[in-house]
């Protein structure tokens, strides 16, 4: 929030003035009030591997993270470029594979990757769109300095928090929204439905019928699935509600079976169709891939998009962006060592105390090592795993992430954050001005994942 000379940074100046006039105890009471709103509404998530914590709240910090309009425009251009490149890359590797032939990416990296689906070769999804919804994880290290951490092109979650955080802030501090010109995010569900409907399959003749596919009530993001279905005004379905009948995917209603045209699925590729992928999946719909290939349903995001946000591919993103857009990437990649390569592995093992090591296929902050904060013993144990399966890991330096203030009992204190803006792709790319700011609540910590003690904040993009 502050400059080096302890004046407030420009986008924070109006907020800072307001904050200075507030009674701290009132703010702390408001903070409890916010927690009650979240608990009452049931905005919870599940933590895997915890017996007694089937439903938890993600801590909410009530000091907004504020981004100037100017800085946002720059960021948005970079994201748009990247998302366009991701779709072009997917279309290419499932068709002509020019990027491989041009020698920019090793063939085996694609074809031996579990996220690459041979079933998608030669098939083009409706509208040519693979990644309908993207959540690009970004960190800021200084003025206009952004790095992309991950591209999340499969089923990015967290957008319900973006919406609920804003709703809560508007309820608790309406005056702030008079004083600051904050760009709206609340039309996201409307834009999402519109965007999904516009990509209905060729086999759809009437008004497209959209549904959200959830793995069910025990999934960690079930709340979000229900929330999005509700806000869009579409059905929330499970695999057991769906069946392929007469070449269409239909849902079992109290009146009989009715067709679905667009399926926003929050189920992983592996589980989507037991006839095509994992035969033991009870979450999917047997035969849906045949319906898909016959042009009778749109699946968002398309199966096989996972190859584009794979951590092994990530390090090639600068080449990918340049290859398909013909321009230098506007957003930087975090320098990445691929442990599969011998010299990199050697470097990583020698510098474990300064690096973050991640599993190539992991997500959600599970199975990663944060070198600078890990104990010697943890690092030694991790080094063994690394040597055993080097191809399973990548490493990145810890960036000097910018901090934003959070409310603590003694007032405010700085914490590290990242940012996940949400992007909708149809015949156009729409970036919602704002996103989910995740904050590492532990002092000094760099891990923002909710499963590892992270919290969230409202994110403001100002009009200017």
């Amino acid at each position: 929030m502050m400059n080096a000379d302890s004046s407030p940074r420009r986008p924070y100046s109006t907020y800072h003035e307001w904050y200075a006039s507030q009674d701290r105890n009132r703010l702390i009471a408001k903070s409890k009030e916010a927690e009650n709103i979240f608990r009452k509404t049931g905005i919870t998530f599940a933590v895997y591997g915890h017996a007694d914590s089937s439903e938890k709240l993600i801590p909410f910090d009530l000091i907004p993270r504020i981004i100037s309009g100017r800085e946002w425009r720059k960021l948005a251009q970079g994201i748009e470029q990247r998302v366009i490149a991701l779709n072009a890359f997917l279309d290419d590797i499932y068709h002509k594979q020019e990027i491989i032939r041009a020698g920019r990416i090793p063939r085996e990296l694609i074809e031996k990757n579990d996220a690459f689906l041979p079933q998608m070769i030669g098939f083009r999804p409706p509208g040519g769109v693979y990644t309908h919804i993207v959540g690009t994880d970004i960190v800021r290290t200084g003025e206009d300095q952004f790095y992309v951490l991950e591209d999340n092109a499969r089923t990015p979650s967290g957008v319900s928090y973006m919406l609920e955080n804003r709703e809560t802030m508007m309820q608790m501090f309406p005056e702030l929204f008079h004083q600051n010109r904050v760009r709206p995010v609340e039309n996201y569900p409307y834009l999402l439905r519109q965007s999904l409907s516009s990509l209905a399959p060729p086999g759809c003749t009437g008004k497209p019928r959209v549904a959200v596919l959830t793995p069910g009530i025990y999934n960690s993001a079930f709340y979000e699935h229900a929330f999005l279905a509700d806000m869009m005004g579409v059905e929330l379905v499970e695999g057991s509600d769906l069946r392929v009948i007469d070449g269409k995917v239909k849902m079992r209603t109290t009146r009989g079976y009715e067709a679905i045209d667009v399926l926003y699925r929050r189920v992983d590729d592996d589980f989507l169709d037991p006839l095509t992928f994992r035969p033991d999946s009870a979450l999917g719909i047997p035969g849906i891939m045949d319906v898909y290939r016959a042009g009778n349903i749109t699946i968002a995001n398309a199966p096989g998009t996972g190859i584009s946000d794979d951590k092994a591919i990530y390090s090639y993103m600068p080449e990918i962006v340049e290859f398909y857009t013909g321009r230098k990437p506007l957003l930087e990649n975090v320098p990445t060592w691929r442990c599969s390569e011998q010299p990199s592995l050697k470097y990583v093992l020698e510098h474990l105390d300064e690096l973050v090591v991640k599993e190539v296929h992991g997500s959600g902050g599970y199975g990663m090592l944060v070198g600078p904060t890990a104990t010697k013993r943890e690092r030694a144990a991790f080094a063994e795993k690394l040597k055993e399966r080097p191809g399973n890991y990548i490493a990145q330096p810890t960036l000097s992430l910018s901090t934003v203030p959070i409310l603590v009992n003694k007032g405010i204190a700085p914490r590290h954050v990242d940012l996940r803006p949400y992007v909708l792709v149809s015949d156009k790319v729409q970036i919602i001005p704002g996103g989910l700011t995740r904050v590492a609540l532990k002092e000094g910590s760099l891990v923002v994942n909710s499963s590892q003690g992270g919290g969230t904040k409202d994110t403001w993009v100002l009009e200017d």
Binding site: R39, I217, E235, T254
Partner: protein, 313 residues
Amino acid sequence: MLGRTANGLYWMFRHIERAENGARLIDAGLRMSLTRSEATEDDWEGVLQSAGVRELYDQVHDQLTSSDAIDFLLRDTANPSSVMSCIESGRHNARMVRTALTRETWEATNECWIDMKAMLARKVRPAEMPEVIDAIKRRAGLIRGAFHGTMLRNEIFNFSRIGTFIERADNTARILDVKYYVLLPAVSAVGSSMDNVQWESILRSVSAHRAYGWVYDAELRPANIADFLISNGRMPRSLAYCYEKIVSNLGYLAREYGEKHAAHETAEQTLESLRSRSIDDIMDQGLHEYLEEFIRHNNRLGQEITDGYRFYH
């Protein structure tokens, strides 16, 4: 609407109804033990039977004590019909069908679960019982209020109401069935004070001990009590009332969907029989047999609704 959603609504409201009735049963049991001087374990046996969990209780406990029985009815997770288990299941179903509920209805259900979970985290001491029973009834009332005040009168509403009344009819029939011997005019016990307490406990467990006086007279007569709980269409927990509601909600569905199922005929026939048979006739033929058959028909109706509206497949 998805078949699974209809199923979720139906069971959400069955469970909430059962939780509330469970609280009433416990309340009636407590009341009975207060007004009688002799040992009361037998009374709790009757309460366990009314709740349909007598055998289950024996699987978990070696002997019957009032303290264990209350705990079993109130908060034991080994008992799927305990108040806490029902609130848990009701909320679980509500969470599953959240998109079909208004925010108010969902929040009332979620808050009921949050509060009761805290209140029933430990064994409840006798002194706290009135407060706990009251809290359950109040919470259930808030759900009902939010539901009635905010929900559209559409198929969602109909499936919810059908769940409520199938459960309620089942509960009322069970209470009567367990106590039917009390209602049988036996020469020796008639008019004794013990009988009066038992009769009153029946009315209390359906919150009707005051209303009875308005409709009949101050004197408790077996035939009047049975009439009140079986045939009186104005008594909101009577079998006749429940079936009027079931028939009318099934009727809305038939009109909206333009088709009828086996369930429609079953429900209409049951209502017709509830209206036409006099209470003397029923008692002459045997109250127990009558209620047994009613419970069986009620279950069959539930199954026919499940099939007709594709709850599962």
